[in-house]
Amino acid sequence: MRIVVLVKPVPDTASGGERLRPDDWRLDRAAVPAVVNANDEYALEAALKLTEAHGGEVHLVSMAGPAAPETMRKALAMGAASGTLVTDDALAGSDVVSTTRVLAAAVRDLEYDLLLAGADTSDGGAGVVPAGVAALLGLPYLSYAAKIEPNPDAGTVRVNRITPTGYEVLEGPMPALIVATQALGEPRYPSLKGIMAARSKSLETKALADVAAGDAPVGGAAATTTVLDATAPPPRAATRVIREPADEAARQVVAFLAERRII
């Protein structure tokens, strides 16, 4: 079974240093270290488990800046076999429409049984790219998967789709696009052997001209939306830290909230 996973390098939210560039309100990607988008790690983990159970391998596809290979190596270290990175100066500032077109074009050239994606990214956060890619590629779209059960013999895949009231069981023919959720299981830590092996894995870099993105214009110049202004959230007010054993800490937090009639 061959699985393609869409991954995106995003600024490490744990660094606390994310910021927008003041001139164009784009994310300053040079300001903080990049990590694999957390939701994409869940998708990758699900893909790795599927290939462990059914054989085959995982291929990564990403559209990102020129520094992305370092981040993609981290995903390769988890166990993906190879990757494709589409990177081009013209793609900086792409909106979701451009991103969707470019990713679909990069995936179209590949052979795969399943295409997995995370629910959304921690930087853009639109959450519509997977659906757009499925639409452009004409794939069944199985979203919010809490469980993935492929049946390679029948050429179908079954997914438990999380709903507000429980879950639905969906089935579709493969290849299909599946949006992963955290319910699929915690991403693994890369092993040191995985990290060392990742150095020699194939990571193909493509320019925009190398993928058949179609006639529609893509990239920053073709963005359909423009950020006019951005305002940072107000600074955090004075913080009280309670350092007590859990029971006592909980009691004090409840008392604090009750005092202010919050609960």
Binding site: E70, A77, Y189, S191, L192, K193, A198
Partner: protein, 400 residues
């Protein structure tokens, strides 16, 4: 690739970062309990084994990662940053394996390295005795041939003391006298063999009859790492468990320590870094006289000194590891210097961290008192700081 650049390679940085994440997520939450119970953390050993960390010092052909000394040190540092006991698991696995890496036969490597690299077995280094600490060559543990055959078994009698992980190891590299001393002052017998050719190294397996763990010490720090007194009563060891030639033990031990001391320096740098991070975070949070104490210059200066000292020790360690990996002829000097500087730095920085935290630093609600107790051992083992100075001074004066 071990290109000598003045930065870590991408691969070394990636390995370091991966170990740091594992240490933060899986080992740090256990550190206080390991210290409190004083029990060897088998679960942490499994974490280190499961993520190939224990395979770092071993050649790739035996299932290891073939990591350079610097890479091993990076891992020891990151683990020790959150738990010195846990960092020592890797450092001791390397220490115990070094005599075999340096002087073992292919057959011995084939026999033991795959399990050691996978972390299925542990190995300890048994050199020190009650009366032979800094004076290694004074070892009284004896090994004698059973019979006259060239490849006959050896019978080992004696005891070893202060053996890190001696009670949990599956294999023990034991240094025993195979000849009488010719130069021990006041010795009644005065045969020919020079002191430095008396010792021979053997691998004792824990199930061999006559081997026993006499007791485990109660210690000030690294409390989860069992430090054992070991007894050998007529332990029969096959000749194929002998490492190197008869009489080469002292040389093997010294060459081992030249390569292993950076591991202790790495532990010390990690402890210092861990204490620095706790102190800096605390000073930013703790308010007195209406502002964070980090804004008071006396505290800020302490933090700045702690950072600068820790970084200095780290850079000397990385340089030493790189020089030793490159086969520098003065490896002993580099390893002694980095252990000396890092051990003293760890002691100073952890003591200052307790000072920054004030009363909170002295109680076990915060980890810095543990780190201060753990730091002390880095000034003592694998050669006291005094022995390190002796090694450095000898290298300095013998060149003139």
């Amino acid at each position: 690739m071990a290109t000598p650049t003045y930065r870590l390679t991408d691969e070394q940085a990636a390995l370091r970062d991966a170990v740091r994440v594992l240490a933060d997520d899986l080992i740090a939450p256990r550190a206080a309990e390991i210290d409190r119970t004083g029990e060897f953390p088998w679960d942490v050993k499994e974490v280190l084994a499961g993520h190939d960390i224990l395979g770092l010092p071993f050649p790739e052909q035996y299932g290891g990662l073939g990591g350079e000394l610097l890479t091993v040190c990076l891992a020891v540092e990151q683990i020790s940053r959150v738990c010195a006991t846990s960092g020592l698991i890797l450092a001791v696995q390397e220490l115990g394996a070094l005599p075999l890496i340096l002087a073992g036969s292919d057959e011995q490597k084939e026999r033991w390295f795959p399990d050691l690299a996978a972390g299925r077995t542990l190995i300890a280094f048994a050199l020190t005795e009650a009366e032979a600490g800094s004076d290694v060559a004074a070892a009284r543990t004896r090994a004698r041939r059973d019979g006259d055959a060239e490849d006959g078994d050896w019978i080992i009698d004696g005891s070893k003391r202060f053996i890190s992980q001696g009670s949990v190891a599956d294999l023990l590299v034991v240094f025993a006298a195979t000849a009488d001393s010719g130069a021990t002052p006041g010795a009644p017998d005065a045969p020919e063999t020079p002191r430095h050719q008396r010792l021979t190294a053997f691998v004792v397996e824990k199930d061999m009859p006559g081997f026993s763990v006499e007791r485990v010490e109660h210690k000030m720090g690294i409390r989860g790492s069992p430090t054992a007194e070991l007894g050998f009563r007529g332990v029969r060891v096959p000749d194929r468990n002998r490492i190197g030639g008869v009489g080469e033990g002292f040389s093997i031990a010294m060459r081992t320590l030249d390569r292993s001391r950076p591991g202790i320096a790495a532990q010390a740098v990690g402890i210092a870094q861990g204490a620095l991070e706790v102190a800096a975070a605390y000073a930013t949070e703790r308010n007195q006289f209406g502002k964070p104490i980090a804004e008071f210059q006396m505290i800020a200066a302490m933090l700045a000194d702690m950072d600068a000292q820790t970084e200095s020790a780290r850079q000397l360690l990385y340089k030493a590891a790189t020089e030793i990996d490159a086969g520098a002829p003065d490896a002993g000097r580099w390893s002694a210097m980095c252990k000396l500087v890092a051990g003293d730095t760890a002691m100073r920085v952890t003591t200052d961290a307790v000072q920054v935290l004030g009363g909170y630093g002295y109680i076990d609600e915060f980890p810095v008192e543990r780190m201060m107790r753990d730091a002390k051992i880095t000034q003592l083992y694998e050669g006291t700081q005094q022995i390190q100075r002796l090694v450095i001074a000898r290298a300095l004066t013998s060149r003139r």
